[in-house]
């Protein structure tokens, strides 16, 4: 457990951890973080990872509504064929997270259809979409809410079992991924 006061919703930390093996494996090429609030957590994780001039995966955090196309085309010129672009972006459901209400910027992913627009644009910019993960899915939120009710109803053993079930559905791919607070997209440069 932690008494830390970083106030970063867990799904963002989870997404950062999830991309680290890919960034650490061959070193990273470029990291672009548009979210001031995630910078210290990102830097803490990148401390031990090599920055490479050639090859390596790249990471793009929280594309912004006003300049995402320009940033994407910048990535398309930087990333050479066969290398990976990882994108972490909020989804509209992230608006419900109280900790991020005061965050600055105008994330593309918070807008309805924002992630869909980005995914559509990927092939046009020379990327192939490899995978998309939804983190903190609506399903896990629902199970957690139900478990809280059971906890209040003095059914603690059921509460725990549902809590564990919620953990198993915390990340999803496929259609369930769109009903989540954070999206993690993996694309390869063609």
């Amino acid at each position: 457990m932690t008494a830390d006061v970083s106030h970063i919703p867990f799904e963002y930390l989870y997404a950062l951890d999830a991309v680290m093996p890919l960034l650490a494996k061959n070193g990273y090429k470029t990291v672009l973080c548009n979210s001031q609030e995630l910078l210290s957590e990102l830097n803490m994780r990148l401390e031990s990872v090599e920055n490479r001039a050639v090859g390596g995966a790249s990471l793009w955090i929280e594309p912004q509504a006003d300049d995402w196309q320009a940033q994407l085309s910048h990535f398309s010129t930087l990333i050479t064929s066969g290398n990976t672009l990882l994108i972490i972006a909020s989804r509209p459901l992230a608006r419900l997270l109280p900790e991020r209400r005061l965050w600055q910027g105008n994330p593309l992913g918070l807008q309805p259809g924002g992630i869909r627009q980005l995914k559509k644009r990927l092939p046009l910019s020379g990327f192939r979409l490899e995978a998309e993960h939804g983190i903190h899915t609506l399903l896990s939120t629902g199970i957690n809410s139900f478990s809280t009710v059971l906890g209040k109803a003095q059914l603690p053993s059921l509460f725990d079992r549902l809590y564990f079930a919620a953990r198993l559905t915390y990340r999803a791919s496929g259609w369930l991924s769109s009903l989540s607070t954070v999206s993690l997209i993996e694309a390869t440069a063609l």
Partner: protein, 434 residues
């Protein structure tokens, strides 16, 4: 004169120590973490968390019991990890165990302080100040500054000061007893530790609660008690209460410690295991069922025995020793796969068979107290392979001194951690487990 022979504990201990060495990485002891609350299978770098309590105390016990300087050197090496990993905020890097690499972990930073202060006490005046300063700064600037609640006269578990977790507060108390001993200043105990211990007593079940008598509730949020009772965490209260008794002579602390152990042993299963949780309605949860962590229950019991309260735990010691495999590491648990449903495949979960530095330290510390007089044998960490399951998928885990690898039935690598590295080289999505 008959030749001294090694005991099974000697053999288990040196093998465990050999495994522990394979977990060294730049900055400390690394490796993935499996836990009840959460997993940290992705961050595998050094964790400056409660593993340092057991590692430092274990090496100090080995040094004391064998007189061999190499063990003191390793205790100092671990202490130096903490010195080098202390941040400007006086917190420690990656101090949150299952939430690593987060900082400000509870009770982890207090447990690190216990390690540092015990090391300082063992060293006497030579080289002592740096470890004391490191621990004292963490205690003052984090534990007291951020977690002490003047109103309730106790250590809370968050900055909002609306949660209280007895076992974590107990760990802080243990650090404060040591700080008082090192500095000769009783205020650390009188002002902070004893009032906190008094609050812990308020969380203990009385006679009217039948089989729960003696159990300490897990925590409270906004003064609303969460009526779950974790035997492992209860055991971690015992050692602090005994220190409170030793310091103050107040019998209620000893009485409370005895009641806790009576509660724990009364829920023991035949093979020496305990439920992970006993709920207020008398039901239990054994998913997971700890193995390496039994070291802390055994240690609390052994300490209590010095006060004349002797509860038999031979089955638990055997379960602990049986949990050791060819790597020398002791497995984490059994039953993780049953957490959210049935385990139809009847194979261990990957998390069961993981060797976790922050669980094995507990076994290490306990076993180090019981080495025989015979010279310790040499040991080498070996290779371990086992079929297991994760989220319903059959996998094979292989651990060697160099790596930990998990493959599926098609021999595709799903997870691979090269020991010494901060992150696994491969971690497919099923390993992003919360």
């Amino acid at each position: 004169m008959s030749e001294l022979t090694n005991s099974p504990i000697d053999n288990a201990l040196v093998l465990l120590e050999a495994w522990l060495e394979t977990m060294r990485c730049p900055g400390g002891y690394g490796g993935p973490v499996a836990h009840w609350w959460q997993q940290s299978l992705l961050y595998t770098g050094p964790g400056l968390d409660w593993r340092y309590e057991g590692i430092i105390l274990g090496y100090l016990l080995l040094w004391k019991n064998t007189g061999q300087a190499q063990w003191l050197e390793k205790a100092c090496r671990a202490g130096n990890d903490l010195l080098q990993g202390q941040l400007k905020s006086k917190n420690f890097k990656a101090s949150s165990f299952e939430r690593n690499p987060a900082i400000a972990g509870t009770p982890h930073e207090a447990a690190c302080d216990i390690g540092l202060l015990s090391l300082a006490l063992a060293l006497g005046e030579i080289d002592q100040p740096k470890y004391v300063i490191c621990a004292e700064q963490n205690i003052k600037e984090f534990l007291i500054e951020k977690l002490w609640d003047e109103q309730s006269r106790s250590f809370c578990d968050n900055i909002a000061k609306n949660t209280f977790v007895p076992n974590k507060a107990a760990t802080i108390c243990e650090a404060l007893f040591l700080l008082a001993e090192v500095t000769g200043e009783s205020r650390w105990v009188d002002y902070y530790a004893l009032p906190t211990l008094n609050r812990i007593l308020q969380y203990q079940c009385g006679k009217e609660q039948g089989r729960l008598e003696g159990a300490v509730a897990q925590n409270s949020i906004d003064n609303q008690m969460v009526l779950k009772y974790f035997p492992l965490y209860n055991a971690r209260c015992v050692t602090a209460l005994l220190k409170g008794y030793r310091w103050s002579g107040q019998a209620r602390f000893l009485d409370s410690a005895i009641k806790i152990m009576r509660f724990i042993t009364s829920w023991s299963f035949g093979e020496g295991s305990f439920p992970t949780v006993v709920y207020s309605n008398g039901t239990t949860n054994t998913a997971p069922n700890w193995i390496a962590a039994l070291g802390d229950i055994l240690r609390a019991n052994a300490e209590l025995a010095t006060f004349g309260a002797d509860f038999k735990m031979d089955g638990s010691l055997q379960r602990l020793l049986n949990g050791q495999d060819d790597t020398g590491g002791i497995q984490t648990a059994s039953g993780f796969a049953r957490q959210a449903g049935r385990n139809r495949l009847n194979l261990p979960d990957v998390r069961d068979v993981l060797h976790v530095a922050g669980w094995c330290d507990k076994a290490f510390r306990f076993l180090a107290g019981y080495v025989s007089k015979a010279p310790l044998p040499e040991a080498t960490s070996g290779t371990f392979e086992v079929a297991c399951v994760l989220k319903g998928q059959v996998l094979k885990v292989v651990e060697t001194p160099e790596f930990l690898e998990v493959k599926n039935r098609q021999s595709q690598i799903r997870y691979r951690w090269q020991k010494g590295k901060m992150w696994p080289m491969v971690a497919e999505a099923e390993f992003w487990l919360k």
